[in-house]
Symmetry: C2
Subunit: 216 residues, 2 copies
């Protein structure tokens, strides 16, 4: 049965692929699973019908064969468990790949989002100039550890996995900051992820949705 995901009708990132449906699209492309997309406006996302699928009023959601899921981590895990290509077969390597999914979401992403939040909502505040270096250093501490772990390897633990998909997606949120530039191996890591054909297909699909919203 073809799964259905939800995505922004007009993503606030203007098609840069930073909204979280991109992570699910990319995973589905990696495993070769076609999917439907139901587009929602911001108002629809916050309405009761959508909140029955997503209690926090966010996208994406995932519906398949009587199962409704939310949280990109849980959706990726579900996809990875039912298709080959996103988790190693060896149980120990599989557990480690899942650890990297959680590391991306609970250790690396929070300081990155906090910095993005400050830039978006507090850059006109008198304290922003003093706080930004602190926010930068909190991000950089995580990046330095990640860079040290990655070293000269292509991926975080052996072959490309759902852990890499999630980590690269999180690092992409550093976008226009120069924080990634301090770590050449992490820059190359993100570029390597973005060069995957599955990534390119997913990116093009989410961009087409945004472009359509601008001409409608």
């Amino acid at each position: 049965m073809t799964p259905t995901i939800t995505a922004f009708k007009a993503s606030p990132d203007r098609g840069r692929g930073l909204a979280r449906d991109m992570r699910v699209r990319w995973a589905l492309e990696e495993v070769g699973q076609p999917y439907h997309v139901r587009l929602v406006t911001f108002a629809e996302m916050k309405a009761p019908a959508h909140r029955k699928l997503q209690p926090f009023g966010q996208i994406p959601t995932y519906e398949e064969d009587g199962l409704a899921l939310f949280e990109t981590g849980a959706i990726l895990l579900r996809i990875a468990e039912r298709h080959a290509g996103l988790l190693p077969a060896d149980p120990r390597a599989r557990a480690r790949a899942i650890a990297w999914m959680f590391a991306a979401l609970n250790t690396v992403e929070p300081p990155i989002l906090e910095r993005a939040y400050a830039v978006l909502f507090e850059s006109d505040k008198p304290w922003h100039v003093e706080r930004l270096p602190v926010l930068d250093s909190r991000v950089d501490a995580r990046l330095a550890d990640l860079s040290h772990h990655l070293g000269g390897a292509d991926w975080l633990d052996g072959a490309f996995s759902a852990g890499d998909l999630m980590m690269a997606s999180v690092l992409r949120r550093l976008g226009s900051s120069n924080l990634l530039e301090r770590h050449a191996n992490l820059q190359a890591y993100v570029a390597r992820a973005e060069a995957r054909p599955a990534y390119a297909r997913a990116f093009a699909d989410q961009l087409a949705v945004f472009n359509a919203s601008q001409t409608a």
Copy 2:
């Protein structure tokens, strides 16, 4: 084989059970799995030997039978997959319980930790009094959604699961703030979690470690 976890030799929370080893201890108590604890000082936690197990220099880690894991989410999932008691047998209910684990770690915990960070490190800053209500409102938005979802139920999705263990652990970090008091059903939810015998055993064990560190 008995697993070994790491924990703070002297937890900065002074035995309140907010350090993340508590989540792993609680999970192991829920499934009746004995475990060893290796205590680490802050300096040891940041040293290369520990970083081989935990690239970000944090606790807890989990070692078992040739597998070394980090990230509490991944550790809990590993424990839940190998023992009965933390995830439903039905595959769809299991996927939903895992979604709640991710929701706790990636949707509810980040604004709670951000507020705790500001109280800990920025309360002497001139801007703190203006920022705190914003931080509170970001936490409260998540709590309101969570409270709405929980309604009059005991647990987030059917029987108690690893999702509830993680969510209750995250909510406990609101500690001395009054934010939980606005949502009576969430207060009762945390109290219900804390009343579980497995929680009480885990809490007593981590408290004994802290107390020993003070008299040593």
